[in-house]
């Protein structure tokens, strides 16, 4: 085990997979000469050369489409977006090309491609640079969506994503790149996609939260413990395929669920979890499923407003107390 930053864990996964498989390459804006906008790919150009670490023009639709073509031709591209906000100009390449080619070709083509980059809000970046995309991309059948909350999960999940024969949207976080944590250095350290992690065991209320929200949820669990409530925190890690069984089993134990998600609330990851849980665990629910999400507006710029916009620890505590009938 080594203590790595999130960016180092991601880099370790890419390096290991590129050493293992000559078909894996990294392409994106500033990934090579500049060592990555957030230094995720630092040193990789020197190590693998310009054939496998490629800088591109500012043209997301172009290099995303290039990646799709390379994957169809049998390579395993890793396409980095400087932020997933910019993936919207490559929307067609992601949701129509990458997501549907296996289906539309009757299985003649697989699509072993990873689109990765920072997701969600990162402070005062205003409305167009603060979008959380997990709810959006998990909407499309054909795409897998991964959103790790810590360096170890990031490494194990990214290695699984790179080896996966389907397109994977791999979501990182600008504000979490410096987050440190113990990371396995086992050479084939793989965490399977679609497996949630019970991060904290508890008996009274289940809190489902991923990525940045996961840390808010853990804070909330501490606060709830001070108030005498024993919260269980489940980190889904993969948004799609979703490990609903683990969540449902937890809810059947605690009878209460709060879903935390920094997406906007409408037709979102949180609404999906709430829906599936009422389908699977209706008779175990002692209270309606509560959600804590970004507010249903474009992300504001002002410091106080963006802080208010994001799911906050006190909101999670309040929601948990509400389903505990503890208010």
């Amino acid at each position: 085990m080594a203590v790595l930053q999130l960016r180092e864990a991601i880099r370790a996964a890419m390096v290991e997979e590129m050493e293992r498989d000559a078909g894996v390459f990294l392409i994106g804006e500033e990934v090579a000469e500049y060592n990555g906008a957030y230094k995720v790919s630092e040193g990789m150009l020197d190590r693998f050369g310009a054939d496998r670490v490629l800088d591109t023009p500012i043209s997301e639709s172009g290099f995303s489409g290039l990646g799709v073509g390379a994957a169809m031709a049998g390579l395993r591209p890793i396409v980095e977006f400087m932020t997933f906000n910019f993936s919207f100009v490559a929307f067609d390449q992601l949701v129509n090309n990458a997501a549907k080619i296996r289906y539309m070709s009757g299985g003649q083509f697989s699509m072993p491609i990873v689109f990765r980059g920072p997701n969600g809000a990162a402070g005062q970046l205003a409305a167009t640079h603060n979008t959380a995309v997990e709810s959006l991309y998990s909407y499309f059948p054909g795409l897998k969506v991964v959103a790790p909350s810590n360096p170890d999960d990031a490494k194990g999940l990214l290695k699984s994503a790179i080896r996966d024969d389907d397109p994977v949207i791999f979501l990182e976080s600008e504000s979490m790149y410096g987050l440190k944590g113990e990371v396995s250095d086992a050479r084939d350290y793989m965490i399977p996609l679609g497996k949630a992690r019970i991060a904290r065991e508890g008996a009274d209320v289940t809190i489902v939260a991923h990525q940045k929200s996961y840390w808010r949820a853990m804070e909330a669990a501490d606060r709830l413990a001070e108030a005498g409530y024993d919260a269980e925190v489940v980190d889904p890690r993969t948004i799609r395929p979703l490990d609903i069984e683990t969540i449902a089993a937890s809810v059947k134990k605690t009878n209460r669920l709060v879903v935390v998600d920094e997406s906007n609330p409408f037709a979102s990851f949180s609404s999906e979890v709430a829906c599936q849980i009422q389908e699977r665990a209706f008779d175990w629910l002692d209270a309606p499923v509560m959600r804590v999400t970004a507010k249903d507006v474009p992300a504001p710029y002002a410091k106080n407003l963006i802080e208010y916009y994001m799911p906050r620890t006190e909101e999670i505590v309040a929601a948990a107390k509400q389903v505990l009938y503890a208010n």
Binding site: F282, L285, D286, Y325
Partner: protein, 430 residues
């Protein structure tokens, strides 16, 4: 001017009423004669009418609260009208219902799940305003209740708007499961089983009826000196007569006569002969009231109590009419649909536990009557007739009398007349 709606006196014995359900919402336009709520009195659940036109401005008390007669229930008026002055005028009364309901009924702590609606929260009566009468419970609470045989209607909800949640059902399960160990999470103790004292008894809220029964019968037993006379009545002829009557009634599609109808009729006729028994003690007036008419009340057991609807002029009515009226009144009693005129004005009461196999018993006089007749079961007995032991049918009647009004000899003469009517039913035709 806003118009107050106060708790009316709905029966002669009523002291307070429980507002069972609101039937109108704040802001609704109402006119004279509209029913805005249901009120449980000591005898029945009755409709609360308004006598004015206007808008229901405020529901002063939540559903489930008890209000003394004259207490403020609601305020009518014009939309937007200021009612603060009126409310202030009722300050004591408006506060009284809440006090009355907490001081008179032992309200268990929230979550204890006694038989009562969710403890109304004075702060949040608006949440009750939208109450559509549905029983609210979480899915888990319903499943738990089902698995443990808990009747949700008997569990008080501690969640929002009275929703029954897990902890409420669990509390109810604990009460119904004296020994721990049922839950798979606990190991059955092998030595001492601790039984918390608070789990031993279940607090059942006093209904208005139960309060009234308690008050009136205590008053009767503690103030009127009871004495008891028991006779064993030969009912062979009456049983035979009833069989013949009912056979004909069946053929003709008429009403069937119960044995108790014979008793009612016999008592009514005997009351005519012995007016001293058909009387009431009037200490304050310095009189004994001898009643001109024979109105015989019949005790009817219903859920959580009993009522005594009256067969008026039973002496002048035929058995078929007595049977029809008794059956109708008993049905309405069980439906809690009796009106005050159905139970007021009795001059004598009968109580029959024969159908439970009770051989004889003593009844407590139903004020303001002077006497009550307790009717036992019809028994097959070996009896002596003309020097021979033969099979016979017997029934014991026990008359409780208020010695202030009726002396032993008078009571004995009365019960003798009742007996002779039942022993020779044809005499009731005369």
């Amino acid at each position: 001017m806003p118009i107050p709606v106060e708790m009316p006196k709905m029966s002669d014995t009523m002291e307070e009423g429980v507002l069972v359900a609101w039937l109108a919402e704040e802001g609704d336009a109402v006119s004279s004669g509209d029913i805005i709520a249901q009120v449980e009195t000591d005898k029945a659940t009755m409709d609360l009418e308004v006598y004015d036109d206007g808008v229901l401005l405020k529901k002063v008390i939540p559903a489930g609260a008890a209000v003394p007669i004259g207490g403020l229930i609601a305020v009518l008026g014009k939309a937007g009208e200021d009612i603060s002055v009126l409310l202030a005028g009722y300050d004591g009364a408006a506060g009284a219902p809440a006090e009355a309901s907490t001081s008179e009924a032992p309200v268990p702590p929230a979550g204890d799940g006694a038989v009562q609606p969710a403890a109304p929260d004075a702060e949040s009566d608006t949440t009750f305003a939208g109450d559509d009468g549905r029983l609210k419970s979480s899915p888990l609470a319903r499943r738990l209740a089902d698995e443990h045989g808990i009747v949700l209607q008997q569990v008080a909800g501690s969640g929002p708007e009275g929703r029954i949640v897990k902890r409420d059902v669990e509390a109810a399960i604990r009460r119904h499961t004296p020994a721990p160990g049922v839950s798979s999470g606990y190991r059955m103790p092998t030595t001492m089983i601790e039984m918390p004292a608070e789990d031993v008894s279940e607090a059942v809220r006093l209904s208005q009826m139960r309060k009234t029964i308690a008050r009136r019968l205590s008053e009767s037993k503690f103030t009127s000196p009871h004495f008891y006379l028991t006779v064993d009545v030969d009912v062979e002829r009456a049983v035979a007569a009833r069989a013949r009557i009912n056979k004909q009634a069946e053929a003709a599609g008429g009403v069937k006569i119960s044995f108790n109808d014979f008793v009612t009729k016999a008592c009514a006729l005997a009351l005519r002969v012995h007016p001293a028994v058909n009387a009431s003690w009037g200490e304050q007036e310095g009189v004994v009231l001898q009643h001109r008419h024979a109105h015989v009340a019949v005790a009817v057991a219903i859920d959580d109590g009993l009522v005594t609807p009256v067969i008026r002029h039973a002496d002048r009515k035929g058995l078929a009419q007595i049977a029809t009226e008794t059956r109708e009144l008993a049905k309405r009693a069980r439906d809690r649909a009796l009106q005050p005129e159905d139970w007021e004005g009795s001059t004598f009461t009968t109580s029959n536990l024969g159908m439970y196999g009770v051989e004889e018993f003593t009844a407590i006089i139903n004020p303001p009557n002077a006497c009550i007749l307790a009717v036992g079961a019809i028994r097959d007995e070996a009896v002596v007739k003309e020097g021979a032991v033969v099979p016979g049918k017997r029934m014991k009647l026990t008359l409780s009398s208020d010695h202030r009004v009726v002396d032993g000899a008078v009571a004995a003469a009365f019960i003798g007349t009742v007996r002779s009517h039942i022993e020779e039913p044809l005499s009731m035709l005369l």
